[in-house]
């Protein structure tokens, strides 16, 4: 987690090691070993998920990585950062992403 995020009390996310992701030609599947659940991921979830690994990242860290990789970030409406955070929270709720601190 970036030092900045830690001090500001911002949540940081990492991929649950129990998750296995398989990319198919159209969408991706995420299998959770412990629960046995299979999630069919929405088209752009994979992109956010691809930045996640063992090291916890904040929405800001992820946005920076996506910009570095894709050039620019845009959202249908609203702030891309807010959207990334919202999506990370949903991924956490589904048990795909781990959150630290959990506050």
């Amino acid at each position: 987690m970036s030092e900045q995020a830690l001090h500001a009390g911002i949540s940081a996310y990492s991929l649950d090691p129990d998750i296995r992701i398989e990319r198919l030609e159209d969408l991706s599947l995420a299998f959770h070993r412990q629960s046995g659940e299979t999630h069919v991921l929405a088209a752009d979830t994979e992109i956010i998920l691809s930045t996640l690994g063992d090291t916890p990242l904040s929405a800001q860290d992820i946005a920076a990585r996506l910009v570095a990789e894709h050039g620019a970030l845009e959202s249908e409406d609203g702030d891309p950062l807010t959207l990334i955070e919202a999506r990370l929270q949903e991924l956490h709720r589904l048990g795909i992403a781990l959150r630290r601190p959990s506050a």
Partner: protein, 172 residues
């Protein structure tokens, strides 16, 4: 939305995909998964049931904006009538026409469409299903809603039906 607009929408998303390198576009609301399969679903069927377009159902909310976005719960009480038509003001204070869900659709329980109705409608240039008792404009709002759920930009149900359908709609 006429069928011209719907096609343009499809093309646009294809174009967006190909230019993902330059601009990464995110959906408006975060829905990470279009469907989740749980172990309990295997046994619940008591013998496994294939999802077919014919039988699967896509629920539609009771009040949907012309933009395909369901009227948020806290706005339901603020729906007003003007010239016999319903409207509400969204969070950006924009006035949006409101349509009812397909409550008169005899093909499904509750308000919604079967996958087959949507597929058949696509085959007929997106005219409303014969047996659904909805107006053309109303149906267009529902289609916009379905597109948004499918792309994950609004949360919604319909699960495997939508995934089956997405492939069908892309070939239109």
């Amino acid at each position: 939305m006429n069928d011209e607009e719907l096609r343009t929408g499809e093309e646009k998303s294809a174009a967006e995909l190909s230019s993902r390198r330059r601009v990464l576009k995110l959906g408006a609301v975060a829905v990470p998964a279009v469907a989740t399969l749980t172990p309990s679903m295997a046994m619940a069927q008591g013998g496994g049931a294939a999802v077919s377009l014919l039988n699967c159902t896509i629920p539609i909310p009771a009040k949907v904006g012309k933009d395909g976005i369901p009227v948020p719960e806290h706005k339901l009480s603020e729906i007003f009538v003007k010239n016999g038509k319903e409207y509400y003001r969204n969070d950006n204070n924009k006035r949006i026409r409101v349509f009812n869900g397909p409550v008169g659709n005899t093909a499904v329980h509750g308000a919604g469409y079967t996958g087959q109705q949507i597929k058949d409608s696509a085959d007929r240039g997106w005219s409303p299903p014969y047996d659904a008792n909805v107006s053309r404009k109303q149906f267009q709002a529902h289609l916009k809603y379905i597109q948004k759920v499918r792309s994950g930009s609004v949360p919604g149900a319909g699960l495997t039906c939508l995934v089956s359908l997405s492939a069908n709609l892309h070939t239109v």
